[in-house]
Symmetry: D2
Subunit: 340 residues, 4 copies
């Protein structure tokens, strides 16, 4: 059985486990105040080209979204997202739980269109009843999106300018950021992200860590952010668990290397899928690939290969997802080729 089910099916990159073992008995202070956290922060500032950035570590993506969004919004504000955005659909209402509405604009294979965003914001303030409505207080993007697609540098720039014009922060959910940055088809770099966004996170859980996301505030974190993290139940006592992982990921470019590997594996996977005549549901330049499959073929393949159901295409076809990750091997791709 080989698995392309998702990008969190395995544990951590072995280097991370090695470092956890090496440092295991050192007595360290808690809550993110240990030297490994500090070292990881410094390395992240460097790769972001953002020397004054504040960096915090949280355990998972939904948690990070809820804490960041809640701590940056005013009480009367909501967050604008694509209607397919993770926070809008698959986080069990974690943002609403903190009291804020997710305001949706149409997603285009997961992406917000800058023109439509601008129109929405203009329309909001032109509406005579807008004081009876939830104010748009932040824009949320995922990059790569839930559809595996990427914003261009120009699109990010436009969205960033719109946000700055309306004086609302831009937040980028980078659960799979590495896989986006290492795509051959992107012109976006990590310093670009740090320049255009007011806050973003570098995903660890899906890119080689056991758990953990690094939240980066290029300019300034909200006041007493640590207390907000604690209040949301998101502060790990053993902050070292996150610090050591991110310190390892940002030593010798490990994060980028393993992301590049997954990107290369995705290219090979695409070749195999194309070669086997499976039509792509849409074009994705990252580690998630979506194809339309006959239901009978899908059932047969499932006996040997794990992959995910995405949605029904029609009565006899299904859109399915194959994901590569830092752990995917060439052998697995070849095995898939053989089985298809």
């Amino acid at each position: 059985m080989i698995s392309f089910e998702n990008d969190y099916i395995q544990g951590a990159h072995p280097e991370i486990l090695k470092r956890l073992a090496e440092t295991n008995l050192e007595p360290l202070s808690g809550y993110g105040s240990d030297p490994y956290c500090e070292s990881a922060r410094e390395k992240i500032r460097r790769v972001c080209g953002s020397e004054n950035a504040e960096v915090h570590f949280l355990a998972g993506g939904t948690q990070t979204n809820a804490v960041v969004i809640d701590s940056m919004l005013n009480g009367y504000e909501g967050v604008v997202a694509a209607d397919s955005g993770h926070i809008a659909v698959h986080e069990a209402g974690a943002v609403e739980f903190t009291g804020h509405k997710v305001l949706t604009v149409p997603g285009h294979t997961g992406k917000i269109d800058p023109g439509e965003l601008e129109q929405y914001l203009e329309g909001f303030y032109r509406d005579e009843n807008h004081e009876h409505m939830v104010f748009p207080g932040m824009v949320y993007l995922s990059h790569p999106t839930e559809f595996g697609t990427l914003y261009t540098k120009e699109e990010l720039k436009q969205i960033s300018e719109i946000c700055r014009q309306y004086e609302i922060p831009l937040y980028l959910d980078g659960a799979r950021l590495g896989y986006g940055l290492m795509s051959r088809e992107t012109d976006v770099t990590l310093p670009d992200v740090a320049e255009f966004c007011d806050v973003f996170y570098i995903g660890g859980t899906k890119v080689g860590a056991l758990c953990g996301e690094a939240v980066v505030f290029p300019k300034k974190a909200p006041r007493h952010f640590l207390t907000s993290v604690k209040q949301h139940g998101a502060l790990l006592a053993k902050g070292r668990l996150l610090g050591i992982q991110f310190d390892t990921l940002f030593t010798d470019d490990l994060y980028f290397k393993i992301s590049r590997h997954a990107a290369r594996m995705a290219e090979k996977l695409k070749e195999v899928l194309r070669e086997k005549g499976l039509p792509f549901a849409w074009e994705s330049p990252t580690n998630q690939q979506f194809v339309v499959m006959e239901d009978s073929r899908m059932e047969q393949l499932r006996e040997k290969v794990a992959f995910s159901f995405w949605e029904k295409a029609d009565a006899e076809h299904t859109v399915v997802r194959f994901a590569t990750s830092w752990g995917t091997t060439e052998e697995e791709i070849e095995e898939l080729r053989r089985l298809l």
Copy 2:
């Protein structure tokens, strides 16, 4: 430098790291549905003598308290705790963040007095204005308490009966449960806890895990608890991280063995402190020991030994805490003896 600063200064018990490494590349399904989680649940049910218990894994203590309390209370209810209870003081208002008040009764070196609890509940319903007040909807205990103290079996039984009479659940915060159960001075067993409580958690973070707490509902978890966990941002994608840790802790009684070790180290620590003429601030039968120290002596000792400030005793004395853990060694105790 030796450290008695707290019980989460080190990483994980080495056996846990070993198991994480051994299972690292196995592809496993996410969110707690993997076989290691299932195996851990089964082992926990067995040691609790509670074969129908539902068991869930969360990452940390404050998170666990917030999720459990919020998902078990009705909207108009609060949780009753000792005024020194962790949820009342040191969780940055995580319970209030979910909309519920922490209702306090006097703590007696951290413990709720059954008689006073009963009086409070009786008084509440007798108050003609009680419909304008927050209903007591749950009782929260920590065991061991923040003061290192323990309830007797009889006290737990009484509190449990009071809760059942008022039809409100009893919740026991077992952040340091192992250290309590393995004290020589307790008559409380894990099956007792499962019998008297409606929900409790077995602390991992402070008892040998990198992170993680096992929530046990001896009878029944609230409906759709997994969704509540997700909504609170508390669901780890790689549930294996918690499952493997707890599976390891409950294999060959590791949890109890390492807890017993910490308890034995605490006994030796007590001897040393007593021998050195340091008066105990109060009697603690568990891994945390509190003594009154002259400020000058404290400053001097701090150069060689890490321990924690608890509170000022008077102008020239301070109450300080020494904690042992699964990782404390006899050599460290001897070194402390030498240094005092």
Copy 3:
């Protein structure tokens, strides 16, 4: 200047002010426990044909929606509404403020289609990821809708059956319920509403009261509902203010008489608008009428008549709303005819 701006431009029906004055100096107990509240409850039970109904009085519509929805949902649930529903758009996120998501289905001139609702619910439970999503825990309808449209008895019945099949309550927002019930084009009666819904409110603010909505639970209110009302800041000390108003409205059918008057005025208004060649934006059988007007004509008319902007139709036309109410006079309609 005559006004069709909305249905809350005037104070209260004079009979209400008269009763408030007559009872003004009587010392009465607070918080809804006075005999006028009790009398109003009894009369409402009678007109609803629902002798065991629990009836509570609140001050306004958004408040009522937030309190009712929050107190009936479980923590992990949201409320399903048409995307144009008042709670989804014009209540400043009052539902999300209580922690619950508003889940939207397409509105058809304000109405939920029973077939689409069923499809949504089926689809939700068929989705393999639904445990990571907000559970649909209630259905919210407005009747009349924000577009002035009405559900037929058959539609309400179907929606009710769907809700009962999925074991979720059906809630009807009756801010303008009187104007709906007294339309010539409805087959829905108040006992029908009480039969099909698990909770609904009879709007007072827009139907002759100074303020106030009567929430009716035909079977049973949530436990300790009064405390929930207080907790949401919605409990008036002088409950008499609401009790006397509703007691007056439900004495000698005043509520129905004044609603019928508004409905008759709306019919005359429609005649005038039709006669003057103003195309209706959509067909509304109730007190709100929506027509498309040339912008120049609109500007001119605004000098003499108050009405509301609804939305731009195209570059040179606007959809505008004219509303009648219990206070609209035939003279005002005639004056409008003259001015158009």
Copy 4:
């Protein structure tokens, strides 16, 4: 039967009902934008000696407390109150419902001691763990307190200075403010309140209105406060109901006249109680008087006079409360004298 049960047993001052009737059919815009609201605001600014104050009208006290506190606190902050403060005890957890903790300091017959407040704030920031605790983000006073007591001008000044030193707003709950200001035993004026506080409310519900509280921000209201009010379900469509009431109360000093009347009636009441040998539970200079009564005498009196139970004093005695209001008459006092 005569009643001293509380200060909201009757409707409104007759002048208010008269004005409501006179203005009843005028078409007015909603949500507080009508000219009566504007006029009331202007008059309130004048009596407060605070020409730039922002004034908003809400319906009731608990609502006002929740909206004001929530909209002025940061997410990680709580509000400091006396342990007997209304928000701490008798508002069903309305503040916690908005996610904020009520942090209590000891009350001295309802009052916060400036020295103890300072000590609490100093102690908070000195505590090494304070980042794990709820930050004190505001101070809440009630004046008069729930015990009828009053702060002196000097005490208010001191508390105000402490708040300014810690850069947190001071909020004064003036549910019975008129009765405090018109006490013969106070040196505090309304302009003093406006000078020392960052926000306060002038209570209407208990001082002659049907409902309503006027919130005054002497300097500046939080941004988009109207939207916050709406989001909390606290925005009345017919804002006129509040505007006309407050406009009437602040025309020809009505608010002060009726408050003074209640204060004079309280003085007479005190004489009667003293004359009849009833010991005062504590000294109150305002409209609420608390005496200790033998239980048998209490039961007997209750047949003819309404008053409230406060608390048991001992096995055979009870503390009871007698309240005067704008509506209390000399005849009622005389009747009480006769009956005692």
